[in-house]
Symmetry: C2
Subunit: 489 residues, 2 copies
């Protein structure tokens, strides 16, 4: 459990601030992908930009990410890899897959601007290799630049929109799977771009409160560095880009109690400070209960196995997005599941593609397996009987797994006990913003001078999630907010 220090969040009236230690047109709070993109675009638009980061340097949770960036509609990379896509198909998919209550206005803006945004990332120096990864890991093991990432080609989305791979993955020299990956490269490129820009960066600085003018306009922030309080003035506006709140257990309790005690994915900067600073002056929030939930197996083994609950029943198509399997497992099954497969499935997956996945039980019959698992007599047997009988015909009428992954399970059978397994989670709810990142109050009006982007805001990842949506949404709407605040100033 991370240590979350008690910090103030309520606003400070400008009238009480005597001197300012730092000053800029635009103050950006948080140096992940969203803050970097906001700072770059505000600077390009002519603003004097100050970028604040609590850690010793830029990166944040973005630098720890696999690096998938969800873009489409016919990007240069999609075309180079031979895939057709359109903003319309991308829109249909995102509206369906990010519901309930998808943000249709943001999605439309995102899909229309996606091709251009990819080009912008390339201009910023983010490298992409023109090759498609056809595997089933959560990120490419090598430097392939394009992959599926949200179950676009699986049920039910494959019946709603024409599937296309939309995860654009930066190429990493010396890649280490799940360790030094595309997110590291994305932030390496963006921090280099920032370094080559007029943007000023201040690190090791924690922002605690917003400064408000008597008319409600936000005109700065109160922060701390090494015990010293710094007042920082923002002449045009403040952009909050300080991440989500998965490292704030009190906020999880208030808004997303089912996430408490799960594996936190992010950095301890994801403490909700940016969200709370704005909430405390009346900003609206949206979908604070929503979360990405990574299932405990992201291996090709998953699609060829069956996932059951503690009653031995299947409850999801195993070939969908692993985050959808994870969400369903956490929110519908209390986080408990079994992965059931057979020797043939196990042997068919190369060892390096099933890290840590060892059978808890191996048995000659399903009846023995079920008994070992503590599943009531006959419950798993009937699940496997129905699954096998239809798999034989290449069908899965219960959950619509695709034919290519259907094969009857046969002896010896095995299962992994995922009842106590770790599900990695992060929050996706946050401040309610318009398409230019303006933070809205409860009447739907913009709070003057205040913007939020990345996971401090609610955006494309809305309730339903897909890998790549955070880096995609963060950089895309970060740019827009930077432009908007520069224009406003």
């Amino acid at each position: 459990m991370a240590f979350t220090p008690q910090r103030g969040v309520t606003p400070v009236p400008a009238a009480g601030v005597k001197t300012y230690d730092l000053e800029a047109d635009v103050v950006v709070v948080g140096y992940g992908c969203a803050g970097a993109s906001a700072a770059l675009s505000a600077s390009t638009a002519g603003s004097d930009v100050l970028l604040l980061e609590r850690a010793g340097g830029g990166g944040g949770a973005s630098a720890m990410a696999g690096g998938l960036i969800y873009l489409g509609g016919g990007t240069a990379l999609q075309k180079a890899c031979g895939f057709e896509d359109s903003p319309e198909e991308m829109y249909k998919f995102l509206v369906a897959a990010t519901g309930p209550d998808p943000d249709e206005t943001k999605i439309a803006t995102y899909c229309e601007g996606s091709v251009e945004h990819f080009d912008w990332l390339v201009e910023c120096g983010v490298p992409f290799k023109e090759s498609f990864y056809d595997g089933l890991l959560a990120e490419p093991p090598g430097d392939d630049g394009l992959m599926y990432s949200g179950g676009e080609d699986a049920y039910p989305w494959n019946e709603i929109a024409r599937p296309a791979p939309r995860a654009h993955v930066p190429a990493v020299e010396g890649k280490v799977l799940y360790e030094k990956a595309g997110g590291w490269q994305l932030m390496r490129s963006l921090t280099a771009a920032v370094a080559n820009s007029p943007v000023r960066v201040e690190t090791d600085i924690r922002v605690d409160r917003l400064i408000t003018e008597s008319d409600g306009t936000i005109s700065g922030v109160v922060s701390r560095r090494y015990g010293e309080t710094l007042h920082i003035r923002a002449r045009s506006g403040v952009i909050l880009a300080g991440g989500g709140f998965v490292f704030n257990d009190e906020m999880l309790g208030l808004h997303a109690p089912k996430l408490v005690g799960r594996l936190k994915v992010g950095t301890d900067g994801d403490d909700g400070q940016c969200i709370q600073m704005a909430q405390s002056l009346g900003a609206a929030v949206r979908h604070m209960d929503a979360a990405e939930v990574a299932y405990c197996s992201q291996s090709p083994m998953l699609v060829r196995s069956i996932v059951t609950n503690v009653q031995g029943q299947r409850y999801v198509n195993e070939d969908g997005y692993f985050g959808r399997v994870g969400q369903t497992t956490l929110f519908s099954q209390g986080g408990r599941s079994f992965l059931v497969f057979d020797e043939e499935v196990f042997e068919s997956v190369p060892e390096d593609q099933r890290p840590g996945l060892q059978p808890t039980w191996v048995c000659a019959t399903v009846a023995e397996l079920e008994e070992s698992m503590g599943v009531p007599d006959g419950a798993l047997q009937s699940t496997v009987e129905v699954y096998n009988r239809f798999a034989e015909k290449g069908e899965d009428p219960l959950f619509h797994k695709r034919a290519q992954y259907l094969k009857p399970l046969c002896s010896p059978y095995a299962a992994i006990d995922f009842r106590e397994a770790i599900l990695g989670v992060f929050t996706i709810g946050g401040l309610r913003t318009d398409i230019d990142g303006r933070v809205l109050n409860l009447e739907g009006d913009a709070i003057p001078g205040l913007f939020a982007v990345g996971r401090s805001s609610s955006g494309i990842p809305n309730w339903g999630y897909l890998s790549g949506a955070s880096l995609g949404d963060g950089t895309f709407f970060g740019r827009r907010a930077g432009e908007a605040v520069a224009k406003a100033g």
Copy 2:
């Protein structure tokens, strides 16, 4: 869909208010059971109280309720009916059944004060008959005063705390089941008590905004009546008791999108205005995604049937609280289910205890039934096979339905199609308050002069729900807030 007019919610500075049209020590917003109890206790404690209601008279959602009031720990009524209970067992049950993230402090206070609170209701003139209702409807068909209401005697709660019936139901002369019920009687008694007190009541008045002093203290409300704006001063404090937000579709979208389009239970006063007025000045909210979800069958038929999802699988014990069946159905199964039973079950339930429940399909075999229902071949058959085989032995190892309700289903079989069935919902999330109803800001500090009770606040019904928790929590914490504000003045 209810028409929700656009209304302002942001606060108004006191400095801008020239004259006040009305004035009192304590201003209570909303005349349901929580507002009535708050007004009565503040008045008893010596305050000059003004009770505001947007409708033409008191009642609100409380008056439409079945009237169950969740109390225990050994009330006079429990004793008279021969049931043993203790605050400790009640506490254990509530902590388990209202989680995740139950409000343990509020629950402890509630359990300790519950016996005395029942006596207070009796003193207020609320009539209770000393008889126990042993049936399985959602409220007693007659005037019985005590019943089970939260699945205390069903799995898993029966393994966690000693069960006791805790729903105390006012006796109604000329009762009409689900129409003129205990809630009507509760409000009839409380409005009579208010009429006999010095509390002043103003009706047809809508409260839009809070008035704030320069130091942040709440000192009144801005309201409207027949097009006229009224400024109302509260010398000691304002108590928000204006209900939940199920009639505000925009708020549902932001916080509880799965409730959109469901049957709204409450009055159109449940528009979230009280919650938003406080949120807009930085009040914290809690569990805004939480909801009571009434399952589509609250008949004794439910416990003797099996409930399946569209895959033909069971997913819940049918003998638990019908609101738990409803929550599971909505949140885990997209609101879609089948009720599967046989002729014997159907005939065993008197017609007036299965209103509107007619089989959609009746078939000689489960195979035929399953085909009619569109469930994949063998899926329902295996569900029934496993259920029947264990029911024969009085066991349900999958979901732990009690033995008394277990009987193998036999031909002719029947099912009701509840895939498009109506699930009645209301919100239970709201403002974060302490045990005296003080509204807390995001730093956990009380906002001076501001209180909230009933479903404008988050309380005993927390995430898990149980019938009687709203009227119980509303009257109990309403009283406490009334006392606290009177003392503060």
